[in-house]
């Protein structure tokens, strides 16, 4: 990926790669098997200044642009998609505060979250509502102290250890709102979720909230803005993180497959010399290169503040996660039995984890709807311009 990045972006990616290299492959595999992440891992990432890079320096961040953030996510994805998941949901809380927080809320919350002193999680999905976010049943009822939050959330990444949750619910008049809910609030209980297909070390949890009292100052983005602005803005960043994270995992799958196919011999020659293996490698490399361009294009638009960035991010997330699953499937195939064994290769973990990237931060079917609905105008206008050009107008 580096050949397309500026020297500053390359430097930043190398910095991240060096930090993440401290985690031994055996330890990363052990996190997955234990379905838990040692607390010292996130502490070390916080100390290295990697948990709030895109936040302005005035609030403790590093002012990194979207391309730098994307490359950071690619390195996380290449290391562990569970680690990427934790970075993603924490970043989504930061992004919601950055976009929708008042000056006071940004001053109150961003420094401790950016430093990693506190970690956040994004609590939108409920047992009965996922993609249909407007159907959420969590309620916020006004009271003397502020609001009482009641409801359930499920499959919330890092819920089992987060310090603060960004919770979405509805007021009594039905308007959607977002609020910040510290996990030590009375009435809140979190049950860790085990036995997942992928993202096993991301410490997912099910949350139950019973009359959890929060001050009115914890309401984020105003009444009615919960889904259309706060969640949408956070999910936009989340999709960028997942697109780049999938890209990083895809790169690892291609690299591992090329290395393995070059060393392993069958029928008297390296696997890589067999044409059917070359066929698979060609498809993997092509998919990776196309995904890389889409991801970088989306990040560049975002860095430029373009309102078109969200659409291109959805396209990048859809394409990259879809093709990453195919690439991981091919990587397992090339590795054969070794690709099915956690102790022999990391491809089996990537294969399981990458499937999750097709579902989270908006399922790929939701991305398809967005791309089709919002992308049609672009092509209608293009056809009209062509018609006018050919008519000499």
């Amino acid at each position: 990926m580096d050949k397309h990045a500026s020297s500053l972006h390359t430097e930043r990616r190398q910095e991240v790669a060096r930090i993440l290299a401290a985690f031994a492959p055996a330890d990363i595999a052990a996190w997955d098997q234990a379905e838990s992440l040692p607390a010292e891992v996130t502490r070390s990432l916080a100390q290295a200044g990697l948990l709030g890079t895109f936040i302005e320096s005035g609030h403790g961040g590093r002012n990194w642009d979207a391309v730098s953030f994307g490359l950071l996510c690619a390195e996380f994805g290449q290391t562990s998609l569970s680690l990427l998941s934790i970075l993603t949901v924490h970043s989504m809380v930061l992004e919601a505060l950055r976009l929708s927080g008042t000056t006071q809320q940004r001053a109150d919350w961003l420094p401790t979250l950016t430093s990693g002193e506190k970690l956040g999680a994004f609590a939108l999905t409920e047992p009965d509502f996922g993609s249909e976010a407007t159907g959420i049943q969590t309620t916020l009822v006004q009271c003397d102290e502020g609001y009482r939050v009641t409801g359930r959330k499920k499959w919330i990444s890092y819920a089992a250890r987060a310090d603060v949750l960004l919770v979405f619910g509805k007021l009594e008049d039905g308007s959607a709102v977002a609020c910040l809910l510290p996990t030590d609030t009375e009435g809140l209980s979190i049950t860790p979720m085990k036995g997942l297909l992928g993202f096993r070390a991301a410490m997912l949890g099910e949350i139950e909230m019973k009359d959890c009292v929060i001050p009115a100052a914890n309401l984020l983005g105003g009444k009615g803005a919960g889904i259309n602005y706060v969640a949408a803005g956070a999910l936009d960043l989340g999709r960028l993180a997942i697109a780049f994270g999938s890209l990083g995992a895809m790169e690892a799958c291609v690299a591992d497959s090329v290395t393995y196919a070059s060393k392993r011999k069958q029928f008297g020659q390296a696997l890589a010399k067999h044409q059917l293996i070359q066929h698979m490698l060609a498809d993997m490399i092509t998919a990776y290169k196309a995904a890389e361009r889409l991801c970088l294009h989306a990040a560049e638009l975002r860095s430029a503040g373009s309102p078109m960035a969200a659409m291109e991010t959805a396209t990048a997330k859809y394409f990259t996660s879809t093709h990453a699953v195919t690439v991981a499937n091919q990587a397992v195939q090339i590795h054969g039995a070794a690709g099915c064994s956690a102790g022999e290769s990391r491809t089996e973990r990537f294969y399981r984890d990458l499937k999750i990237t097709e579902i989270i931060e908006g399922s790929n079917q939701m991305q398809q709807l967005m791309i089709a609905q919002n992308g049609m105008g672009e092509f209608v206008q293009s056809a009209l311009r062509r018609k006018r050009l050919l008519a000499g107008k």
Binding site: G222, N228, Y229, G305, A310, Q373, M376, G377, Q381
Partner: protein
Amino acid sequence: MTNTDHKQDIRTFLENFISEEDFANEDDIFELGLVSSLMAMQLVLFVEKTLGVRVESEDLNLDNFRSIDRMDAFMQKMSTTAHG
């Protein structure tokens, strides 16, 4: 910048996403299903990029972005506030 300038800018931006050839300045683009609700965030970014201002949380209201006319009125208000 005049009202007319804003309206044309908004229309040009929306035409990137709306496949209908004709829609009026007063049409509610969300109610008519011309765009998805996710467009709201992109419209906020459009206003911020065009005017060089930050849309604060109290203004994050879908009613400000429902039609070209309403967006134009909102942008006029934002412009006035920003430039005193």
